[in-house]
């Protein structure tokens, strides 16, 4: 008969070697049903406590018990297997650019500038990222929400203020749309994008 420490070592090995959560019934099979469910639960509890100080924890899920990495160590582990960072679609990036440079803007404003409809998913993606929020409503029929960028947006892009966004004068110049702005034009002489 195994002593509790040996049994714990075997449970530990079985759980670490398994890709899927291991149920209590399976763990009993490990010992050919010689160890009861109560004892197993106690051993699992002890094992969980023993592991508490480590970067991997033993958790009890619906499907059974599983060793898994603690979320706070995820950033380290990601360095090992760097996933290719996902990219936002052009639609999302343009919407974000319009909100950043023209805020506060309504969805209608964005659609006017982009020339196409802006889907709810795009707005939602940026809202759930915490990069934009509704700062008011325009006093027009339907009272459309007005979006602006948030502090989190500035933080995540490493900016202190919106003024640090790349200036767009050069953009206009390269496109030869208009002459470079003179210093006298410092005031926002432009009428707002309606």
């Amino acid at each position: 008969m195994l002593n509790p420490t040996e049994a714990k070592r075997i449970i530990e090995a079985a759980l670490l070697a398994s890709q899927e959560p291991v149920s209590l019934a399976e763990l009993k099979r490990l010992f050919e049903d010689q160890i009861g469910a109560d004892t197993l639960r106690r051993l699992l509890g002890e094992l969980r406590d023993e592991w508490s100080g480590r970067a991997i924890e033993l958790v009890n899920l619906a499907g059974g018990w599983r060793f898994q990495t603690k979320p706070e160590f995820q950033p380290f582990l990601e360095r090992l297997n760097p996933e290719k960072p996902p990219r936002y679609s052009r639609a999302v990036m343009e919407t974000l650019a319009i909100i950043a440079y023209r805020q506060p803007v309504s969805r209608g404003d964005i659609e006017d500038i982009r020339g196409v409809a802006v889907s709810a998913q795009i707005i939602q993606a940026l809202e759930s990222r915490g990069w934009i929020d509704v700062v008011g409503h325009r006093d027009t029929p339907g009272r459309p929400a007005l979006y602006a960028t948030t502090q989190a947006f500035l933080n995540d892009l490493g900016l202190v203020s919106l003024q640090e966004l790349p200036p767009l004068e050069e953009v206009a110049r390269t496109l030869e749309l208009e002459p470079p702005p003179s210093p006298a034009q410092a005031e926002p002489a432009q009428p707002a994008a309606g």
């Binding site: 898994q68 023209r102 805020q103 506060p104 960028t149 496109l175 926002p188």
Partner: protein, 274 residues
């Protein structure tokens, strides 16, 4: 000879998989002499990897020095097996016939009288066979040793703690220049005009417009004075004023004053209807 004993278990190990039966009784070990009951021959042949393996077995069983193979009895025994195979109509692998021919050739050459001076080690007709037998035996034993090494999946498992990725879903990184790029593509596509040109100064006004709207959303009504922070310098005061004016012009806020020199209040337009 020591190696004969060592070779014994080799066969026992490998043969254990297909149990040899004689008259229905399982045969635990390979026959200890060269006589193999006809019933067992077929299964026994399956246990051999080929003529070299069979030859090695015959040599080992007779406790012969592999370097001093007596060709005549060996050839005779080998041919007996080939006869047995033929009598039992067993599918005779070509390799066995080639080996039989080779043994007969060696035997006949060794029977020929030779001038002593000419005979050297490499002229020994058995040399090539010995070389092949040695190399095969070496690899056969190596295979056995490899098989005894703990093997991943068979004797041990790699651990694989689950990596919890759900909490840290990788979100796209955006660099400020990506935004400029997005704006550039907008311009290119739409051929936008003057009112879409954005300067740093206008951006700062726009930033304050958002800030004021946030403040008003929280406080509903603010006194004009509360919206200015003289500590941040004249430039910020100016920009804040411009932002308020722009917000009023876009009717996003209402600015009210009950009389001259009375406090000025700002509130979100129609906030009371919310």
């Amino acid at each position: 000879m020591a190696e004969a004993g060592a070779a014994g278990p080799v066969h026992a190990t490998f043969v254990a998989a297909n149990v040899v039966r004689i008259y229905g009784e399982p045969l635990a070990e390979m026959p200890t002499d060269l006589y193999i009951p006809p019933d067992a021959l077929e299964i026994m042949l399956e246990a051999f990897q080929g003529p070299l393996d069979l030859l090695l077995y015959l040599i080992r069983r007779q406790n012969l020095n592999i370097l001093d193979i007596p060709m005549a009895p060996l050839t005779r025994q080998y041919l007996e097996y080939v006869d047995l195979m033929r009598a039992k109509n067993l599918e005779l692998a070509a390799e066995y016939l080639v080996m039989a021919a080779m043994l007969i050739e060696i035997k006949s050459r060794m029977l020929l009288p030779r001038a002593a001076a000419v005979v050297e080690e490499e002229n020994d007709p058995r040399a090539e066979l010995v070389r092949r037998l040695l190399e095969y035996e070496r690899m056969k034993l190596a295979a056995q040793k490899l098989d005894e090494l703990p093997q991943l999946g068979r004797d041990l498992l790699a651990v694989a703690a689950y990596v919890d990725r759900t909490t840290s879903e990788r979100l796209p990184d955006v660099h400020p220049r990506d935004l400029a790029e997005a704006w550039r593509s907008l311009l290119q596509r739409a051929r936008l005009h003057a009112h879409h040109k954005v300067s740093r100064e206008e951006l700062s006004v726009r930033e304050h417009m958002s800030r004021i709207l946030r403040q008003l959303r929280e406080h509903r009504v603010l006194e004009f004075r509360e919206m200015f922070d003289p500590g941040r310098g004249v430039a910020v005061l100016v920009v804040t004023l411009l932002a308020l004016l722009e917000l009023a012009r876009e009717t996003l806020i209402e600015i009210t004053q009950s009389g001259s020199f009375a406090p000025i209040y700002a509130r979100i337009a129609h906030a009371q209807s919310d």
